[in-house]
C-alpha cells in the first residue's frame, strides 16, 4: 500500500495528466512520471520533483502561452506565498524601525493593479479552459465554471458512445417554473429536484443549468443523451442528421413563451453559467462556433417532412449574450439542404421570429432548382429523398445502444 505522501505525488501526476489532451502524449506523460516512487525520503523527493518538472513541461507544451503563465504561477505558488508573507512582515516591521511614511508609500504594492486585473480577465475569456480540480463531486474549471457530478445518470443497459462531440444543442427544459422569490423557496427547490431526477432517469441531456445557475452533468460527454431526436443541422459543408450521436445537449431550466420577448425567461446566473459551460465544452472538444445551435433550429418531423417538431427557445435563444453568431438570421439548413417544409403552427410557436430564416432558405431552394433546371417542387422532392437515404445510412451505421 502506498503512503499518504506517495498518494499526494500520484494525485499531482493525475491532475497534471488531465491537462494533456492528446491520448498518446498523455499516456507517455503519466507512464514516465508514474514510475514506482522510492521509499527513501530524499530519493522520493527527487523523483517527485522530476515528476512535477516533467508534468509542467509537458503541460506547458500543450497549453497556449497565456495558460503557461498561469501554470507557472501555480507551479511557483509556494515560493510566491512565502514572498508575499515576507513582504507583509516587512511592511509591518518598517514603522517600528522608524522608517518614514513616505518610504512606506514607496513599499511594494502586492495587490494587482486594475489594469492588470482587466487584462487577465480578457485573456481568460478567450483562453483554453481546463479542469483545475475535483472536490468531492464538483469539478472546478479554470474559467470559474463549477460542474456537479452528483446526479450523473448510470445507464441501465448498453450505452451508445459518442466518439467525439462535434457540436452543442441548447434546449429549454419546458418544465413548470415557480416564481423566483424567497416565498417560493420550497417550491423552487422541489421542482428543481424533480426535474433533475426526471432528466437523469431518462438521460435527456448531458448538462442541465438550473435556475440558480448551477451546472449539473447528467450524462458523460462520451455517451449519447436523448435530447435532439429527429434533427438536422447544416454548417458550411457539414451536414449533421439525428444529432444525438454527435452533439451534446445542454438544457437551461426555462419555459418558452412565444408571445413574450425574450420568449424564455432566463436568470442572470443561468446566462453566466451557460456561457462558461459553452466555453468549457468548446475548449475541451474543439467545437466550432457554427456547430453551437438551439433545438428550435434543428428539430424536424421526418414523417411530415416539416421543420419545428420541437420549438423550445421559440426563436429566442440568446446567441449574442452567449458570445455566438446569430443563426436565426441565416437560411434554415433543413429547408435549404433537404427540402423540408413548414406550417402555420411552427410560425406561431416561434412567434414569427424564424420567418427570415425560412424566407432565406426558401430563396436558396428556388435558386438551386433554377440552376438545375428543375421546378422547385421537383427539386424539393429530390432533396427530401436524399435526406431519407442519409437517414437510412446513418441508422445503419449507428452503434448498438
Amino acid at each position: 500500500m502506498r503512503t499518504d505522501h506517495q498518494s499526494t505525488d500520484w494525485e499531482l501526476i493525475d491532475r497534471y495528466g488531465s491537462l494533456v489532451e492528446d491520448p498518446v502524449e498523455k499516456l507517455k506523460f503519466v507512464q514516465r512520471c508514474g514510475r514506482t516512487l522510492p521509499t527513501a525520503r530524499w530519493r522520493r523527493r527527487a523523483v517527485t520533483l522530476e515528476s512535477l518538472w516533467l508534468a509542467s513541461r509537458r503541460a506547458a507544451k500543450e497549453l497556449p502561452a497565456r495558460d503557461a503563465v498561469l501554470l507557472w504561477t501555480f507551479r511557483h505558488r509556494q515560493a510566491m506565498r512565502r514572498l508575499s508573507s515576507a513582504a507583509v512582515v516587512c511592511l509591518l516591521l518598517l514603522p517600528l524601525r522608524g522608517v518614514s511614511a513616505a518610504a512606506k508609500r514607496r513599499g511594494p504594492n502586492l495587490r494587482p493593479s486594475p489594469e492588470a486585473a482587466l487584462s487577465f480577465d480578457a485573456a481568460a475569456g478567450s483562453s483554453r479552459v481546463w479542469l483545475v480540480e475535483t472536490i468531492g463531486h464538483t469539478e472546478l474549471y479554470s474559467n470559474g465554471l463549477r460542474v456537479g457530478n452528483d446526479l450523473r445518470s448510470r445507464p441501465a443497459g448498453t450505452v451508445a458512445p459518442i466518439e467525439r462531440p462535434v457540436g452543442i444543442v441548447f434546449h429549454t427544459t419546458e418544465s413548470d417554473l415557480a416564481p423566483l422569490e424567497p416565498d417560493h423557496r420550497e417550491q423552487l427547490r422541489r421542482r428543481g429536484r424533480d426535474l433533475l431526477e426526471y432528466v437523469r432517469r431518462h438521460r435527456l441531456y448531458h448538462f442541465v443549468v438550473d435556475r440558480f445557475g448551477r451546472a449539473w452533468r447528467i450524462v458523460p460527454e462520451n455517451e449519447v443523451a436523448h435530447h435532439a431526436g429527429h434533427s438536422v443541422w447544416v454548417f458550411g459543408d457539414q451536414v449533421h442528421v439525428d444529432l444525438n450521436g454527435s452533439f451534446l445537449g445542454v438544457a437551461l431550466e426555462a419555459q418558452s413563451r412565444p408571445e413574450r420577448t425574450p420568449p424564455a425567461d432566463l436568470t442572470a446566473a443561468q446566462l453566466h453559467t451557460g456561457r462558461l459551460l459553452l466555453e468549457m465544452l468548446r475548449s475541451r472538444w474543439g467545437i466550432a462556433e457554427g456547430n453551437c445551435t438551439s433545438h428550435d433550429l434543428v428539430s424536424v418531423n421526418p414523417d411530415r417532412m416539416l421543420v419545428g417538431h420541437h420549438t423550445d427557445w421559440a426563436g429566442g435563444f440568446p446567441y449574442r449574450e452567449m458570445g455566438l453568431a446569430n443563426p436565426y438570421a441565416q437560411a434554415l439548413g433543413s429547408i435549404a439542404r433537404f427540402g423540408f417544409g413548414y406550417d402555420e403552427a411552427f410560425l406561431e410557436a416561434t412567434g414569427g421570429r424564424l420567418e427570415q430564416a425560412i424566407r432565406l432558405a426558401e430563396a436558396a431552394l428556388e435558386q438551386q432548382a433554377g440552376e438545375r433546371g428543375l421546378s422547385t417542387r421537383r427539386h424539393r422532392r429530390q432533396l427530401q429523398e436524399q435526406y431519407r437515404r442519409l437517414k437510412r445510412s446513418a441508422a445503419a451505421a449507428r452503434p448498438e445502444a
Binding site: 500500500m1 502506498r2 499518504d4 498518494s7 500520484w10 494525485e11 501526476i13 493525475d14 495528466g17 488531465s18 491520448p23 498518446v24 498523455k26 499516456l27 507517455k28 503519466v30 507512464q31 512520471c33 508514474g34 475535483t134 450523473r152 448510470r154 445507464p155 441501465a156 443497459g157 448498453t158 450505452v159 458512445p161 466518439e163 458523460p220 462520451n222 455517451e223 452503434p399 448498438e400
Partner: protein, 326 residues
C-alpha cells in the same frame, strides 16, 4: 509518428490497428483454418476464387475468413491455431497459420517498424505456457522484420479508451477463448486477472446441454440473442445461464486478484470499468456485468461501467498505443 502497428492475436480473431491520420484503421481475419487434401485441381480452384491458402506438406491450408466459408461448404472442421488464449498444442501448424494471417493483415514491415501484440494473462498454473506463447509469437514477428513487444490484453483495453481517467481504471476483454482484465493506475498495470470462461466456453456448454451444434449456438448468439430478455426457449435460457456464469467468473477473478495483491494503490476516487471484446457485444451484457460488480466486495469503488466504443477492435487499438509509446 514513426511506423507502428497494434496486433490483437485472439483465439477467434486476429486484428491489426494502424494509425490513419488522427484516427485508426483496423483489419481483421478469423484466426482459423481448414486443411484440404492437396491436388492441382483444388489448388487452381482456390487460385481462381482468390482464396488464400498455403501448401503445407500434402495438404492445402486455407486460413482466415475464407476458411469458415469453406468449412461450411465442405462440412469440414474449422480448426483453431489457438485455444484458450494460447497457441494450440494440438495443432502442429498453428504458428505457420498465424504467420500467414499476420502477413495478410500487416503486409511487409517498413524499416524498423514497431509492432505490439497482445498476450493473455495466464490463469493459475499455466504461467509456463505464456512464456512459450509470448516467445514464439515474438520470434515470428521478428522473423517477419518487425520490432515486437507485447502488452497484456487487459492493459490494452485500458490504454485504448480510458484516457479520460488518465488511464486509471479496470479494462476487461471478453474474448472467445479467454477473458482478460487489468486494473491499471496511470497507465501502469497493478493487477491482471483472467478466466477461460469466455465466448467459446458459453458456446460449448450451451451446445452440450441443448444438444444443438456449436455453430448453431454461435450463430444464434451473434444474430438474435438478447441477455436482457427472459429466455423464451431452452437455447436462450442456457445462453443466459452460461453468460451469467462467465461474467461472474470474471468478476470473481478480479475480486480474488485484488484481495491477493498487496500493492493496490490508494485510489481516492472511483474508477471506471471498460468492457471490450466480441463476447461483451451481446445486448444486455452491460447490466449483468454492472450487477455482478455491484455484488462483489472490491477494495476499489467503481464510477461507471461501460462498453468500449468498438469492442472488437479495442485490444488492437490499445496495443497500437503501447507500440507508439517508445
Amino acid at each position: 509518428m514513426s511506423p507502428a502497428k497494434g496486433l490483437d492475436i485472439g483465439t477467434s480473431r486476429i486484428v491489426v490497428a494502424e494509425p490513419n491520420g488522427s484516427h485508426y484503421h483496423y483489419k481483421a481475419q478469423l484466426n482459423a483454418f481448414v486443411s484440404l487434401p492437396g491436388s492441382r485441381l483444388t489448388e487452381s480452384g482456390l487460385h481462381k476464387e482468390g482464396i488464400p491458402f498455403k501448401v503445407m506438406g500434402s495438404e492445402l491450408v486455407v486460413y482466415g475468413d475464407k476458411a469458415d466459408r469453406l468449412a461450411r461448404v465442405f462440412c469440414g472442421e474449422l480448426r483453431r491455431p489457438m485455444q484458450k488464449g494460447m497457441l494450440n498444442p494440438a495443432e502442429s501448424q498453428s504458428l505457420e497459420v498465424i504467420e500467414q494471417i499476420v502477413v495478410s493483415l500487416c503486409g511487409q514491415p517498413k524499416d524498423g517498424e514497431r509492432i505490439c501484440f497482445s498476450v493473455p494473462t495466464p490463469h493459475p498454473g499455466a504461467e509456463g505456457n505464456l512464456t512459450y506463447h509470448q516467445a514464439a509469437l515474438s520470434g515470428l514477428l521478428e522473423h517477419l522484420g518487425f520490432r515486437p513487444k507485447c502488452v497484456g490484453e487487459g492493459l490494452a483495453v485500458v490504454l485504448a479508451e480510458l484516457d479520460a481517467s488518465n488511464y486509471t481504471g479496470v479494462g476487461i476483454s471478453f474474448g472467445g477463448g479467454m477473458c482478460n482484465g487489468c486494473l491499471a493506475y496511470l497507465g501502469a498495470p497493478v493487477v491482471s486477472f483472467s478466466t477461460t470462461k469466455a465466448g467459446d466456453y458459453v458456446d460449448r456448454c450451451v451446445a452440450r446441454v441443448t444438444g444443438e451444434p456449436v455453430n448453431t449456438v454461435r450463430q444464434f448468439k451473434e444474430e438474435s440473442f438478447n441477455l436482457n430478455g427472459r429466455g423464451a426457449n431452452v437455447l436462450e435460457q442456457a445462453l443466459s445461464i452460461y453468460y451469467g456464469d462467465a461474467i461472474d467468473a470474471a468478476v470473481n477473478s478480479l475480486e480474488r486478484a485484488l484481495s491477493e495483491t498487496r500493492n493496490v494503490p490508494k485510489l481516492d476516487k472511483p474508477v471506471p470499468v471498460l468492457a471490450g471484446g466480441g463476447t461483451a457485444k451481446v445486448p444486455g451484457f452491460l447490466p449483468r456485468l454492472e450487477a455482478a460488480l455491484g455484488r462483489a466486495r472490491l477494495p476499489i469503488s467503481i464510477s461507471t461501467v461501460r462498453l468500449a466504443a468498438d469492442p472488437l477492435n479495442t485490444t488492437a487499438k490499445g496495443a497500437l498505443r503501447a507500440a507508439v509509446l517508445e
